[in-house]
Symmetry: C2
Subunit: 103 residues, 2 copies
DNA sequence: ATCCGTAATTCGGAATTAACGAACTAATGG
DNA sequence: CCATTAGTTCGTTAATTCCGAATTACGGAT
């Protein structure tokens, strides 16, 4: 069970972040993580239950590899959190701004 | 010669805009258009001359259909401008913010 | 009108990516 | 040990991206 890849804060790419968030399902995931006050697992963060699990798994992987979310395994589930401080240090205010205009 | 499609200002989708800008070549095009004080054609807006023209044409189409740029035919060329006011009315400050964090 | 050069789009293909179901792995509880 | 829950991996199919070659569109010169 290899450890999950996360880019270092300074290696987070703007276009990768925008591309990751620029997809309706993934934006919905980010919005849900933003509203949550603590990390939540993939099932709870998923906006629509009609999508295949494998599809959701892919969406979470894209968000993680872009540096948007942090994923840690806890027991049988993955706990997801937004990488707020890392995103803010690299792109100050960007995440908040996007979430604000996203209704 | 059909008229070029542009989404109405209120029909511009956030995820479409983010996905359009979330690609290095297209972000470079947007940055160049931002620095230009008047509309410029596709060749001048292209950041790298080694890309095929058909590829660039596609990138411009993506930006146009997402509502990021306006394209008007003038003679033999297309004049491209950022749709600042439309983007700002729909997503206030977003474009400036992205351009600011994009170095 | 016809031909030429410039600017950009369209077409056909190979390569990459996305979504899905099915099978699989990992952790926990009975 | 077996069942359950939570996700991942795999193989297929559909869609997208990128490219070069061919094509259209326009403007100017002949």
């Amino acid at each position: 069970m290899a450890e999950l890849f996360h880019p270092a804060p300074e290696a987070i790419s703007l276009t990768a972040v925008l591309a990751a968030i620029g997809e309706p399902t993934r934006l919905a995931i980010v919005k849900r993580l933003d509203q949550a006050d603590c990390g939540i697992n993939c099932g709870q963060a998923a906006p629509c239950p009609d999508l295949a699990k494998s599809t959701m798994s892919n969406h979470f992987r894209v968000l993680r590899e872009a540096g948007v979310i942090r994923m840690v395994k806890r027991g049988v589930e993955n706990i997801n959190t937004l990488r707020r401080e890392d995103l803010d240090s690299r792109f100050p205010g960007l995440l908040d701004h996007i979430l604000r205009v996203a209704d």
